[in-house]
């Protein structure tokens, strides 16, 4: 089994403009997704939603500045850490991850266990 991070990139304005109904519907979809990971043979190891980028603070060369690391139209808004047998299974799971105002990126977690020995 390998671990993958599913990064959710979306236009933040989608939620701001959509109001509470959108927020609730997407929240429900995420609840369903958490169940589907197991149904697809993977395992949910964790995940979180992030506060919007306007709350971000960046540190570069010890200099603290307001704002995200890079300004992008679609910003990182949340993530899941999952375990899957291979990339095909991870992608099958990630396809179910709700991201109505953008998409998701799947990144394999680097396996550091073997390199030390």
């Amino acid at each position: 089994m390998s671990q993958y991070l599913i990064l959710i990139y979306e236009r933040e304005s989608g939620y701001a403009e959509g109001g509470p109904e959108v927020w609730e519907a997407v929240g429900k979809a995420h609840g369903r997704f958490a169940e589907q990971v197991g149904e697809k043979g993977g395992q949910m190891l964790g995940g979180n939603a992030l506060q919007p980028t306007q709350t971000a603070t960046t540190i570069r060369d010890d200099i603290v500045t307001d704002g995200p690391f890079t300004e992008t139209k679609e910003a990182l808004g949340g993530y899941y850490l999952i375990e899957a047998s291979d990339l095909d299974q991870a992608l099958e799971i990630a396809k179910l991850c709700p991201a109505p105002f953008g998409g998701v990126e799947v990144r394999p977690i680097m396996d550091m266990s073997g390199s030390a020995g």
């Binding site: 047998s85 291979d86 990339l87 095909d88 992608l91 394999p108 680097m110 396996d111 073997g114």
Partner: protein, 448 residues
């Protein structure tokens, strides 16, 4: 060591016997994919597998010179390469810290398929007594995985499935060798780091995944077929490799009619290879080509594949089979005027629904003009123009200009030829368009 044993290479390298060299070149072309695919399963690392297979070919040169070419060169090479891979694994403990190639045992077993019954290397391994599974499909599907960029899929397929050297691939795609080497290395790294499994996709994913494989092979063919520059030889090599890959796929997946469709399409297109350019290097239109010089053997094979593919299967035919059927109608027509245009229109209607792209719609419009007159085709083209998805596509104004010319609307035609000229850099095409422009400007292009 007994005679014919693919073990360690002898200590006395001898001058290469031309017969042996030819046998090795032949085995490289025919068996590379099989040998590498089978070795990757043992080596569990693509780079190691490649090295072992290369070593096996080097060892073969020496062993075959001394002992004669074995009855089944593919099996000899596979056994030699797999032994080396096992040796490397035993010796090289550092492999443990690397990410091994992910072999999924659950993939549908594919052993020695093929209606032709050509045994390839899939027989008994020399001296081992076990049947080596045919893993070529795993190799192809891994190279064409959707998580890899199209250009990486193409490069990996040529490198791993065809066994082409990086320098050769770089030349074919007009990039520098370091650029191509980096592209191949990145792709291999992604396969192991992201854990792309070494397997044939399951039935649910198969149609999409197969389409990606067919698209890569088709791209290889068209690159070889229409390359605007580049040495002649490299282009011919790509064309041959693409046809070889399509043939291999048909053999390994005899029930996939899109695979047959692709092979048929390549054969039927390639049958016209010798007549595509005139003595002066000018691109010849279908109308102008010398049909007596078309390759009738290739046409017969292609049309047989199309007929078989269209017959009695459930579901509508896919885009490759339909394009092959269209190429078949052209190939079998006695002349341009004698082409079965109504049949072509029916096939294009099916193609438009199987593969609704504006380029297909444009080609259909040209055929529509042949069945129902230039006005009908022109109306179709104007509808496509209104959609706006083909703006900047040079064949749109060119097709429009041709229909306007045939209607005798010389001023409108001249304007469209101008637009087409503004969109192409290709010298042969520019010369053709400029000729037509001069013709309509002088009013010589009489309405048909």
């Amino acid at each position: 060591m007994t005679a014919g044993d693919p073990g360690v290479a002898g200590d006395q390298p001898q001058a290469a016997d031309p017969e042996v060299s030819a046998a090795i070149a032949d085995a490289h072309r025919r068996e590379w994919a099989f040998v590498l695919a089978a070795t990757a399963r043992v080596a569990r690392d693509i780079d190691v597998a490649e090295e072992c297979v290369q070593d096996a070919y080097v060892a073969a040169l020496d062993a075959w010179s001394r002992q004669g070419v074995p009855r089944n060169p593919g099996a000899w090479l596979t056994t030699a390469a797999r032994r080396r891979a096992l040796d490397v694994q035993r010796r090289d403990r550092t492999l443990r810290s690397k990410l091994p190639l992910l072999i999924e045992p659950g993939s549908p077993p594919v052993t020695q398929a093929g209606p032709a019954g050509e045994p390839s290397a899939a027989g008994l391994a020399a001296g081992e007594g076990d049947v080596i599974p045919d893993d070529r499909l795993r190799l192809v599907f891994t190279c064409c995985h959707p998580a890899l960029a199209r250009e990486a899929q193409v490069a990996l397929t040529l490198r791993l499935v065809c066994g082409l050297a990086t320098a050769e691939i770089a030349r074919a795609f007009l990039v520098s060798e370091p650029t191509m080497a980096a592209r191949v290395t990145r792709a291999k790294k992604k396969i192991s780091a992201a854990r792309i499994p070494y397997r044939v996709p399951g039935p649910a994913e198969l149609p999409d995944r197969l389409d990606a494989v067919l698209t890569v092979i088709h791209l290889l063919y068209t690159t070889g077929h229409t390359a605007p520059t580049g040495p002649e030889l490299v282009r011919a090599e790509l064309v041959d490799r693409a046809i070889g890959l399509a043939r291999m796929l048909c053999e390994l997946m005899p029930d996939e009619r899109e695979a047959r469709g692709l092979l048929a399409l390549l054969l039927l297109t390639d049958a016209r290879r010798a007549t595509r350019t005139g003595a002066d290097g000018r691109l010849l239109l279908l109308e102008e080509q010398d049909r007596s010089r078309w390759d009738r053997t290739a046409i017969a094979e292609g049309t047989a594949l199309v007929t078989d593919g269209l017959r009695g299967r459930p579901g509508p035919p896919g885009r490759f089979l339909l394009q092959a059927a269209i190429a078949g109608v052209h190939a079998e027509a006695p002349s341009y005027a004698g082409t079965d245009w109504p049949q072509l229109l029916l096939l294009y209607d099916e193609l438009v629904s199987a593969w609704p792209t504006p380029v297909v719609a444009l080609n259909r419009a040209v055929v529509h003009a042949m069945t129902d007159g230039p006005e009908a085709g022109l109306a179709d083209i104007e509808a496509i123009e209104r959609e706006g998805r083909l703006s900047g596509y040079r064949y749109l104004p060119a097709a429009r200009a041709d229909l306007l010319r045939r209607l005798g609307r010389h001023e409108d035609a001249a304007e469209a030829y101008q637009a087409a000229l503004g969109l192409t850099e290709n010298a042969a095409e520019r010369a053709f368009l400029a000729g037509r422009l001069a013709e309509v400007r002088s009013g010589a292009g009489a309405p048909e």
